[in-house]
Amino acid sequence: MTRALPVLTITLALIIVWYAACIPMNAVLTTPKIAAAGGGFANTLAFSWNEVRPVLPSPHQVFREIWNTTAMVEPWAIKSLIYHLWVTLSSTLVGFVLGGLLGVILAIGIVHVGSLEKSLMPWVIASQTIPILAIAPMLIVVLGKTGLPDLITKASISAYLCFFPVTIGMVKGLRSPDVMQQDLMRTYNASASQTLWKLRLPASVPFLFASLKVSVAIALTGAIVAELPTGAVAGIGARLLNGSYYGNTLQIWAALFVAAFGAAALVWALGAAEALSLRRMGAKP
């Protein structure tokens, strides 16, 4: 209860600020209507909070829009946000798996081969100075010309974003066993691969999950941005672009909230997997 109270208070304050902000933000549109209806405080609220194409939609409008586009239509209909979320999530997950695997493989290589660390590691870091999200739409267009399936081209953006945190985290994790433990493996005459499987990989699991949580969030961002080029007709990113073209603010806000919900669900699922695997490995809760 002591933990929930501050969060609830801040949430409530945000909603109140949101409702209050609707009045000045929508004033451009609503002032003539309010005057026509005879003015007054009640009319101001009624028009500011129920504008059809508001500058800032009120919370209940956003949630009505989400309700109308998720629960009131079939999940596979083109109007359904569940369908669009699924399109985005599928490329997110494919990219997440590809990027995660690439990250782990790179980390294993870097830990085991000394020259790889010297030559590859600076470029792993430099690869992230390229604002890949910013050039993602272009890459999609270019990759699309090579004839790869749409899902793979979008997933490759997510994979590119994903591998970096995993590589950095796994290099740290694979090196986390201390000298005593490594010496013990040596006294057992364990080979490099045995040390990897029996000591390094188990020791790196906490690091892996910490990295994966960061990765999955940016993978979703990558997938959304990858949908921005005009070719994409489905997905959260396409909904955002569509809404911004036609000035349909409600559609943008609803898509944003559903994307946020998807992101929270992904991170939560990873957290649950982390708790489960750590418990199976004998960690104390």
Partner: protein, 312 residues
């Protein structure tokens, strides 16, 4: 013997490269697969041997700068040879030489885009976002209730696809740079808040007790102990935000811009199939981002010289 072999390889590779360079005006046109493969192998061998020789001549310094530089050179050479040999059309992947030529011939355009995106949007947005995140973190530190309410939000927002706010901000602040700066503010605020809060709690109990025994107030403790102790965290946020700011400004330009800016140029040049121009913009973005990051890393070194990671 150990020195003779790499020197021999280096000499051979250098000779091969020189032959390529002087055999034609442009050594790459009309290359077939075998020759380009030879070229790539020669480049890699030369790079490898050079790094070996350099390691012997000046150990330490070479491995920090030379090895990654040579690795990158090898990558560029492979890219060039691959594009030339397989005759990939420019609309798919231009060669590095074409990109450099385009870069050199369109410096004024690139400079205008740089000013619009980096100077007008990224820098003000980054300053405002980081500054306000820092101030709110101080407020949160003073009022614990605010901290316990805001921190879960900060952690949630970190997981959200925040670039999605871009169309809304473009709608509110117009097509020009204010909407891009606003996007940067939104993207940089929460990382700064979360990191500063973590940093303010980084000083140990012993040190805080010492400050208390000196009868120092909240402000004195803040300036003499807790802020200096928080500096590694704050710089971490500043560095994360430097890349986030670039991304935010460029992505916001996809949702509507005046006819100048890096994001605008990229999206229109893709439509006109001018991929060499797009890659030139990418080069500008990468160089700017690296210099931005490098400046912050340098400042971090000066400010947090006491941190264990800089000790020798």
């Amino acid at each position: 013997m150990t020195r003779a072999l790499p020197t021999l390889i280096a000499a051979l590779a250098a000779a091969l490269l020189l032959t390529f360079a002087f055999s034609r005006a442009n050594p790459f046109t009309g290359m077939d697969w075998f020759i380009s493969l030879l070229f790539v192998m020669a480049t890699w061998a030369a790079a490898w041997a050079l790094s070996w020789v350099a390691d012997i001549l000046m150990p330490g310094a070479s491995s920090r700068f030379l090895v990654p530089a040579l690795f990158g050179l090898g990558l560029l050479a492979s890219w060039e040879a691959y594009v030339q040999a397989s005759a990939i059309p420019v609309v798919l992947l231009p060669a590095p030489s074409q990109i450099i030529a385009k870069f050199a011939s369109s410096v004024p355009t690139l400079a205008a885009d740089f000013v619009q995106t980096f100077v007008r949007a990224v820098i003000p947005g980054w300053l405002i976002g980081c500054g306000s995140g820092f101030l709110v973190a101080l407020l949160c530190d003073k009022f614990d209730f605010l901290r316990r309410g805001l921190l879960p939000f900060g952690n949630l927002v970190a997981a959200l696809p925040i670039v999605g706010v871009a169309p809304i901000l473009v709608m509110w602040f117009g097509f020009d740079w204010p909407s891009k700066a606003a996007m940067v503010v939104v993207m940089t605020f929460f990382p700064m808040l979360v990191n500063t809060l973590a940093g303010l709690n980084a000083s140990g109990h012993m040190e805080r007790d010492l400050m208390k025994s000196y009868a120092s107030g909240w402000l004195t403790t803040l300036f003499k102990l807790r802020l200096p102790a928080a500096m590694p965290f704050i710089f971490n946020a500043l560095k994360i935000n430097s890349t986030l700011a670039m991304i935010g400004a460029i992505v916001a330009e996809f949702f509507g811009t005046p006819i100048v800016g890096m994001g605008f140029r990229m999206s229109t040049e893709v439509g006109r199939q001018g991929l060499d121009m797009v890659w030139a913009e990418i080069a500008v973005a990468a160089i700017t981002g690296s210099i931005f990051y490098g400046c912050l890393a340098f400042m971090e070194r000066k400010v947090t010289f006491w941190h264990p990671s800089y000790r020798r």
